[in-house]
Symmetry: C2
């Protein structure tokens, strides 16, 4: 059995105790173990601050972008190997693994591309200059400076590659060294990624460290110049946010938590909109076995369309083949861990208090190609609640698996937006329709409660990739329950690692300090 | 004695118990009393949410900007009355009162002006659109939506007018109703401002409420759509940030705390730079009797220049005349309260552990024109520490009065930046010199540790207003000890009250939902 190592202080660290097992979720077989025992987290931070930070800051934004581009290439060259690890440790089908791994390389490449134009000054210029007095003798402009600390990245189990890369891309481009910590249960892909990047000398020493296992007292050592970025459950986010040290030192915290995303069908939809809606809902329920923070949990349909939509969804869900991704014909893998399986069963039981089962068993099944009784298989499960407002649990309890609830509503944009809002803040809301007036009122109503609105229409049907993809160009994050953080969104995500500073002085002085040579 | 009222739920509320006295700090005389006893804070929030919010959101950004412009005019028309209240309740000289009151009207007018161009859509468009797929069938762009909650504004005692206005301007423009709470000790100016705005029907009912006295359980009732903006001491900021409800609900918190701002003289300065430096330091030490969150607390001078700078500062500080602002010839008023006076005495005593007294008594004095033994007068006080790095208290203990410490340093940009950083995060850093290479290295070194860098040079000397003014065009806020918040800075401050949302869909759909008609 493989023992996973951490990469800290310029060397690979192997623990000698405190191990947790990693399991193939399709078979239940233990395949590796991990522990961070013996790591001195004070040294880890000191290594990042004294070596990684200065090395990154000695490069320009454009030069750091070049590192990201090269890192993307390294990972792309090992795609097959990473997909295989994803299957073995994550239970992913090949398309689901690719969703994670290609998302990682794509995001690194994207930030490599946009970073090339960010210039050669220590501060990134933001916005236009503005005259602050009667003459240009007093002028103001904003710049963004790399924070002088460390970025601690704690990622969720469902995206070991993409989660690592999307946070790393932003902090490296900003000039802030990172300590990345994958969820232990599915850490093998992340460990391999760091091995590849270290071997390729993709980043200056100290710019990327890997903690495999628990974080010990790492968070209690962070300060005002550091950034703590977390992706995971809303409950864990709350516990971490509560950490006294983070509050006392004013550490910058960026949280992206799971949320109860809704897909909404507008009234009187065209057949094209209905088709797109059905295709998207089924994918967003079952892709990665529903283990996406952007997955659809609530399916709002006009009451008049509820029966036919339910029928169509059931028909499509029935075609999904859960099983061991190594077996032929399997289209959906297991959930990632025994604990996730238990949570799915528990969650559906809780939702059944105010919903009824429309499709799926709501409990573990045997998977195609897997030994009977082995593996963490949970079938696509559709619930329904006819009293959409009254079904409180549907708006509060997330089941992190292939589970969603059908909620008929009255067809008005206002009611649809209010139902979305009952989720208390979500990462993404998808809506399907072509009536611009209705879409306008819906958008206005739900915008404060969601980080992204994905509009499916006839005009988008051909090329839109579905609501579940967090593209680097657009915001990933949402208010309230979704954590209140902001990742990706082009430079928005990079700014989490930068300190905004206003420069004031004579125009010539301010502009010379901020504006890159090439655009002068 | 006047009893100050609160304006809540559309009526003026007068408490019948729980009063705290307000005092004329130049005479010690009680002039008014305030209490929020009897206010139902649940009703206050409900009033804002059910009336103020919808009324504001029914207006466009441009229409709300119009309200701000009109509100500015109302206050300008009552300038003399407000300046007199400022003197009586705040102990301010006329220029110091004007710094506060004119700052308020100027900031309202500024947001009125920039808001006019923000268009007629419910969401504010941000940045450019970007093609997300092979065709324009999938397009992305960011919008900013008014949060659906309430903005609670807790202001500091030193800027009853400006503090109220700068927060209010941003939340009103964003479309979010406000509950404003002045510091009780100096609330009279804020109460009068709200009286004037209510009488003029400047804003829709519910858009502005005033709590005069304690906030009771107000903060414990806030939720994910609300914003809590606080200005005050770093200690109070920490206590409030710790409030369990704010963390549990993910209320957005924006803190602007006092900080240990530094003024830095570059080496081999021109005489013009020295003159500007001396003028600014003396003003930023004594304006508003040193009670500005942006005041200079640490004065860094090259060791080679330390003696002559000390002499020149002492000479200028000796010309300051502390006393009752009502008396002829007085150029600096008292501190605002007995408690502030005590804190100044205590603070100087603590600093004297690692500094020596260069000018000033370091304890209460009688003021010109004030009865002996009455009034909270504290003289301009200059300390000096020759071991700048070793004088830990100088970088940690803020004395919120006319007190600063002279710190000789070796003249290098790196050492100056490191000394600035020892403050743990400041609102503003001022630097005086003309050597661009030195300024560049200094700026790079201290930018992550401060919210604003004010560069005084020959080119700025004629028109620059000093580092203490928080202009609405540029960021007000700083990292770490300074609170980590962001106010003003043009739209930066408005965004605190908006939720960023990415819109994705066909280009035509996304653009029609976001882009105002006039720019189509």
């Amino acid at each position: 059995m493989e023992t996973l190592k951490s990469y800290v202080c310029g060397r690979w660290h192997e623990a000698d105790a405190g191990f947790r097992p990693l399991v193939n979720p399709a078979t239940g077989e233990e395949i590796a173990r991990a522990s961070s025992r013996g790591i001195d987290f004070g040294e880890v931070l000191e290594h990042a601050r004294s070596q990684g930070g200065p090395a990154l800051r000695s490069l320009t934004f454009a030069e750091r972008a070049g590192l990201l581009k090269a890192a993307s290439k390294v990972l792309r060259e090992h795609r097959d190997e990473l997909l295989e690890l994803s299957r073995v440790n994550g239970g992913t089908t090949r398309p689901d693994g690719a969703f994670d791994v290609d998302g990682a390389t794509g995001t690194l490449a994207y930030y490599g591309a946009i970073g090339r134009g960010l210039g050669d000054r220590p501060l990134l210029v933001e916005g236009d200059g503005v005259q602050l007095a009667k003459t240009e003798g007093f002028w103001g402009r904003h710049g963004l400076a790399p924070r002088r600390g460390v970025a601690v990245h704690v990622n969720a189990f469902n995206f070991p590659a993409w989660g690592l890369a999307e946070k790393l891309a932003c902090s490296i481009l900003a000039g802030v060294p990172a300590v990345t910590k994958p969820a232990t249960a599915t850490a093998m892909v992340a460990v391999r990624i760091v091995e590849l990047l270290v071997a390729a000398e993709a980043f200056p020493e100290g710019a990327l460290q890997l903690v495999c296992g628990g974080t010990g007292d790492l968070l209690d050592r962070l300060g005002a110049q550091d950034v703590f970025a977390f992706t995971g459950s809303a409950d864990t986010a709350m516990a971490l946010r509560d950490r006294q040290n983070l509050r006392e030192t004013n550490t910058r915290v960026n949280v992206e938590a799971d949320s109860l995303n809704a897909a909404v069908l507008a009234p009187a939809p065209s057949e094209a909109a209905v088709d797109l809606f059905l295709k998207d809902v089924v994918r967003e329920m079952t892709q990665k076995t529903g283990q996406k923070c952007t997955a659809v949990r609530r399916v709002l349909v006009p009451a008049a369309d509820a029966e036919r939509i339910e029928e169509a969804l059931v028909e499509r869900l029935a075609r999904v083949v859960p099983g061991d991704p190594a077996a032929d014909g399997v289209t959906m893998g297991p959930v990632a861990t025994a604990q996730q399986l238990e949570d799915c069963e528990q969650g559906v039981a809780e939702l059944l208090a105010c919903t009824r089962l429309v499709h799926g068993e709501g409990r573990r099944i045997d998977g195609t190609g897997a030994p009977a009784g082995k593996g963490f298989f949970f079938p696509p499960t559709l619930l329904r609640a006819d009293d959409a407002r009254g079904a409180a649990a549907v708006h509060q309890r997330e089941v992190f698996g292939p589970v969603a609830t059908l909620l008929p509503y009255d067809g008005t944009a206002e009611e649809a937006a209010d139902l979305v809002a009952l989720g208390g803040g979500t990462l993404v809301t998808s809506v399907y329709g072509d009536d611009m007036d209705w879409l306008g009122r819906f958008t206005e109503g739900c915008a404060p409660f969601t980080g992204r609105i994905y509009i499916g229409s006839e005009a988008s049907a051909e090329v839109a990739p579905g609501s579940g993809i967090a593209l680097p160009q657009t915001l990933h994050g949402g208010p309230g329950r979704a954590g209140g953080g902001e990742e990706l969104g082009g430079l928005v995500g990079v700014k989490a690692y930068l300190q905004r500073v206003a420069l004031q002085g004579a125009r010539g002085v301010v502009e010379e300090l901020l504006v890159p040579n090439e655009s002068e």
